[in-house]
Symmetry: C2
Subunit: 288 residues, 2 copies
């Protein structure tokens, strides 16, 4: 492995699945810092992780992480990539983690947000500051405006506003960051299934004749939950999101600008143009 | 067809799919009224409809309905059985319906509630009063308490309260009447897909290891939307709901007592006992 990364202040990246960790590491390098990848076994993609200085850890190995991070000189850590809530039996607990287990057990009984707050407190117990993506790689966020050639219509903008209100209403319940609204009808609300599953459901309902709005209407909207700890879990989109939205017969995809992560922005824009749908970054307070 | 029904005040029943129209017609007969079934073509089950005096109508044939209802002497009409939002191309419009189309078109752009309010106003335009199930067959509602041998635990009761809050929060958006909560985590929120699809999703997520709460935890909760017009669209459960909840690995099913319709109550109770899960009617204001 040719390590071509700069010698600046090292940054630990705890990496879940997908291509996003690679995009973030690139941005970190461009800003003159040295990424140290900690791939989560069973989640992270070796092809992405092994491009940089890296270690493999299991979820729950806080002690191992802290020893390795200290040896690498990392005083800050960034969490990247959605890690699905693990089963207890998938956890490989080490002693440092077990010391904070009472806290973690409480966290597991809550939703994502309390789980993640538990993770943050574990990190702090090891003397490593948890940083947010906005601090180290703000260019990974969707900007305001259309990403490709297509723009939402007024009808689409009304659907976007309604979907943002649905997501906001569910905020207190620590659930979904996404909803699909078509012609003012809420077709789907995301909970544990994830965005791709939700879009697959819309495609199925259309095939069954159970979505009456015609192909080319409806919007997938993603936004962070109001209460969300943005150091951990922000909504994200990639080319697959756009392709699945097109397969679901939607008019486009809207996400909150500045708080939704985009993996492979150029490919997202190209995928939107190919599918003739819009992808747009909207202000978080869009509503009417 | 042997018509063994009493000669009392006739009642028009506009019937969607499933066995519920039959259960309601039985209750109407027990109360001494004469049911006249209007089966919706493409939705209603002939085996159910043809047990009683009956006619077949298409969605949108308001004029035909009024002529037939008048000939049968029906001054009241009951709508039974969820009719999925029809595609415009499935509608067989007649002139009386077309006269009220501007109203209906507005209704189609809203959610279910506005669509149904449009239907009510069409019925009123024909001089037929729309009655609710609570007026003519209150015995089709789930009573308070457990239907079978099994009871919810305290943990289940907390999940039930949370799910009721989720459903209430979505009230303004005219969406789902159901949610699944397990160990305080909102696993699924129902929108256009229907309850059986939602439960199938939970079963899939469990197989994929994406539901961490063990088999035997989690509750399906169904409740009417706060704004719902109860003359049309109330939540309902039947034996299949219980079987699907068991397949999804849930601890049980909770529905609002007095406002959730139960088809085949004895079979629901037997299915719950066979699957070793609870089915319980809870007060609508259950929360803590």
């Amino acid at each position: 492995m040719a390590d071509t990364t700069p010698g600046g202040e090292p940054l630990a990246l705890i990496c879940g699945g997908g291509s996003l960790p690679g995009a973030v590491a690139e941005a970190v390098v461009r800003r003159g810092r040295r990424p140290v990848m900690f791939g989560l076994k069973g989640w992270a993609d070796a092809k992405v992780i092994e491009q940089y200085a890296h270690h493999w850890i299991a979820i729950g190995q806080a002690g191992r992480f802290f020893r390795l991070a200290q040896a690498e000189g990392c005083r800050e850590v960034l969490f990247i990539g959605a890690v699905l809530r693990p089963r207890i039996t998938q956890l490989r607990l080490d002693w440092q983690t077990i010391r904070v287990m009472p806290h973690l057990a409480r966290a597991f009984r809550g939703g994502d947000d309390t789980l993640l707050a538990g993770v943050a407190s574990i990190a702090e117990s090891g003397g490593v500051r948890v940083v947010g993506l906005d601090e180290v790689a703000p260019e990974v966020f969707v900007p305001a405006g259309a990403l490709g050639r297509h723009q939402p219509s007024d009808r689409d903008r009304a659907d976007i506003a309604r979907a943002l209100k649905v997501i906001a209403a569910l905020g207190p319940f620590d659930v979904g960051q996404a909803a699909v609204v078509a012609n003012n009808n809420v077709l789907a609300v995301e909970a544990a299934e994830g965005t791709d599953n939700m879009l697959g459901r819309i495609a199925d309902l259309r095939r069954q004749g159970r979505v009456t709005s015609p192909v080319g209407t409806g919007v997938l909207v993603k936004a962070p939950k109001p209460s969300q700890d943005r150091r951990f879990d922000l909504p994200s989109i990639g080319p697959r999101t756009v392709e699945n939205a097109a397969r679901a017969g939607l008019a486009g995809v809207a996400v909150t600008a500045g708080s939704t992560i985009i993996a492979e922005a150029a490919e997202v824009s190209a995928a939107a143009d190919r599918a003739k749908i819009f992808v747009v970054g909207v202000p978080e307070d869009t509503a009417r």
